[in-house]
């Protein structure tokens, strides 16, 4: 939407802009310091281990969502794609794994299958969104319902990974010092996404489309292609998130991804990516995902009374976003 921008608001001193920018990361610092003061063992080895491995699934999914939000679109189906990948993973490990021999092999096949499903789900959503011009919010909402059904149809009841197959999923418990292997893998994935986002023409296209889709199209950007790729990647991220959850929980559940649907978006937004597209990136998402994890983790540390928990959580989220919201670029309309 075109605005007569106020020139006055645009020529402010640069130092302030930078301060505002870095201030946005202070939410997580304030939270960590606050929780540590309240409970010194918040930064103890045991909890660091927890914090630095449990956030991996959220981080991976949020990375995928970042790419979609950069377009100015949204993918609400990620949670249920995650569920389907989750039940698919455990089904393959349990049913196919024993025939394949070593548990690791079953796990690899399951990973491939889950990722392939994620890609197909993303492709379908991308196709419906791009070709039929259904807004991504509502298209992904439709697919959310659809994949929920599919997850139930694969296995209605939660299923544990059979004990004999635990060899294929025990990697989730591996830690290097306090850093879990799962987080290392997640960060590696983020690094790949970062390269993708900032060093390839696909990444440049994402930002251009998010900023002004029409202009990007006229400039010769492959808009449809970039959008579909972004949705495919978000689908794959959701599926890998589901795979990680299977390893983490040693089980599958057809509803496991549902609570993630909005939490992922919130993580990305907390990381400074604009919900209207064009600004932000996956590095911010790392901060955002950890902010969410720290809030959830810290809540259990300061022993908030049970009936107050969700109130306190809501206010923490509000405070974190109030601190971290990107006000450096002024004159933009906030929706």
């Amino acid at each position: 939407m075109s605005q007569p921008t106020k020139p006055g608001a645009e020529k402010g001193p640069r130092l302030r802009d930078n301060l505002v920018k870095y201030f946005s990361f202070s939410a997580i610092v304030i939270l960590v310091v606050g929780f540590t003061l309240a409970r010194p063992n918040f930064l103890g080895v045991a909890n660091l281990k927890t914090l630095l491995s449990d956030s991996a699934p959220l981080l991976i999914m949020a990375t995928g969502m970042t790419l979609v939000l950069l377009l100015g679109s949204i993918d609400l189906s990620m949670g249920s794609v995650c569920s389907v990948a989750n039940v698919l993973t455990v089904m393959i490990i349990n049913e196919l794994g024993p025939q394949l021999g070593p548990p690791a092999l079953g796990a690899v096949v399951a990973l491939l299958a889950a990722a392939a499903f994620g890609a197909v789900a993303g492709l379908l959503l991308g196709f419906v969104h791009v070709k039929l011009k259904v807004p991504s919010f509502i298209a992904s909402l439709g697919f959310m319902s659809l994949w929920q059904s599919v997850a139930y149809l694969i296995t209605a009841a939660p299923v544990s990974v059979a004990k004999v197959m635990w060899g294929g999923i025990n990697w989730f418990k591996v830690t290097f010092g306090v850093v879990g292997l799962s987080l290392v893998l997640a960060l590696a994935w983020v690094a790949v996404a970062y390269l993708f986002q900032s060093r390839t023409s696909f990444g440049k296209a994402l930002y251009a489309i998010g900023g002004n889709e029409r202009a990007a199209r006229i400039a010769g950007t492959r808009v449809d292609q970039a959008k579909i790729v972004a949705f495919v990647l978000s689908g794959v991220c959701a599926a890998i998130g589901g795979y990680f959850l299977a390893a983490k929980l040693r089980s599958s559940a057809p509803t496991v991804g549902d609570p993630f649907t909005l939490l992922i978006v919130a993580s990305v937004a907390l990381g400074g990516t604009s919900l209207s597209g064009g600004r932000g990136g996956v590095l911010g998402t790392v901060v955002g995902a950890f902010t969410v994890s720290v809030i959830q983790n810290g809540m259990n540390f300061i022993k908030v009374d049970a009936y107050w928990q969700s109130i306190v959580f809501g206010f923490f989220v509000l405070a974190a976003v109030a601190i971290s919201v990107d006000r450096s670029t002024r004159g933009l309309v906030v929706k």
Partner: protein, 339 residues
């Protein structure tokens, strides 16, 4: 030219034909939600006959329509200004919990009667106001503010009775869900009244014009000296009011204060608003569209239940219908930008 056309069309004729075609397509798009609704009704009538088309079932649909309609009405205005409100589950739940606590009930001595009902609604209104103020003045996207308030409100609702839900024993409120007028339940009448108020606001007040304008281009309002911020805050407050009324009615319908009343209302409401034809980017659509959207969602849920579709695939079918309905209502073509 070898094959001679009898009369090659001139550009003007082509243009006229194109305008006609566009007009037809637009009409199809405009009426697509109604066509979908009609199709659903026909399918379910064919499948279940009397069970679906019976008077009792119509009343049941009207009864079930009331609360989703109220919620969707509030959401419609928010979506029209290009915002979004995720707090629904919380605000509705909170109002449903508070009404149980504040009126004559079996757990708490408070017996505020009608005042209690008002206070319960007021709680949600205040939350809507808070969402609006924080969104506007701290410049936080409405998505995030309402996301946070979903938790806050859920918590407040839970806290209000802490444990066993209070059973409403106020005789008037107990009687309300069983009260019918012209064969239509009281709760539905309330929803209809709110609907009329919303139509009035949209069509006959300056505020209604401003809602369209904010969704189209905020700078225009600034140019004529209308406070965009005030319009936005009012929209969120109005939404809070709708959610509050929905929550209170839900509590009364359930006969107890129950914070879970709001669960799973949010996404269907979003779907209903969009399926009805209100554009997510703002400025387009309106209350009347929402009525059709809510009808589609309600009839669909009711019909699938009567047909006895396996619950596992029910949500999937709902998803497909949403996709189909929206695909019919949106503009197509290479130049169309959809987010």
């Amino acid at each position: 030219m070898a094959a001679k056309q009898p009369t090659p069309m001139t550009i003007a004729e082509e243009f006229a034909a194109k305008v006609r075609r566009d007009g037809q397509r637009e009409r199809v798009m405009r009426y697509a939600p109604m066509i979908v609704l009609l199709a659903l009704v026909l399918i379910f009538t064919a499948a279940r006959g009397a069970a679906f088309a019976s008077f009792t079932n119509m009343v049941a649909i009207l009864n079930q329509l009331a609360i989703p309609l109220l919620v969707a009405l509030g959401l419609t205005f928010v979506i029209m200004i290009g915002g979004i409100d995720l707090s629904i589950n919380g605000t509705v739940g909170m109002a449903a919990a508070l009404v149980g606590v504040l009126v004559m009930n079996n757990r708490f001595p408070l017996n505020l009667g009608f005042l209690g009902v008002l206070l319960a609604v007021l709680g949600s209104v205040l939350v809507g106001l808070a969402v609006g103020l924080i969104h506007v003045y701290l410049k936080i996207p409405s998505f995030m503010v309402s996301f946070a308030f979903m938790y806050v409100c859920k918590g407040l609702g839970l806290l209000s009775y802490a444990g066993q839900p209070p059973k409403i024993i106020d005789p008037l409120l107990v009687a309300l869900p069983k009260t019918y007028w012209l064969g239509i339940p009281f709760i539905t009448w309330v929803a209809v009244a709110v609907l009329l108020v919303c139509i009035f606001i949209q069509e006959y007040t300056a505020f209604g014009r401003y809602i369209y304008a904010v969704g189209t281009d905020e700078t225009i309002l600034r140019a004529v000296g209308v406070s965009v911020n005030r319009v936005k805050v009012m929209v969120f407050t109005l939404a809070g009011l709708c959610f509050g009324i929905a929550g209170v009615l839900y509590g009364i319908r359930l006969g107890q204060g129950d914070v879970t009343a709001g669960n799973d209302l949010m996404f269907p409401a979003q779907a209903a608003v969009v399926v009805g034809g209100t554009s997510l980017s703002g400025g387009k659509g309106g209350v009347t569209n929402t009525i059709v959207g809510v009808l589609i969602m309600t009839v669909l849920a009711n019909g699938l239940l009567l047909v006895g579709v396996n619950s596992y695939i029910k949500t999937g079918i709902e998803g497909l219908i949403i996709l189909t309905a929206v695909a019919l209502t949106v503009a197509h073509g290479a130049k169309v930008v959809s987010k």
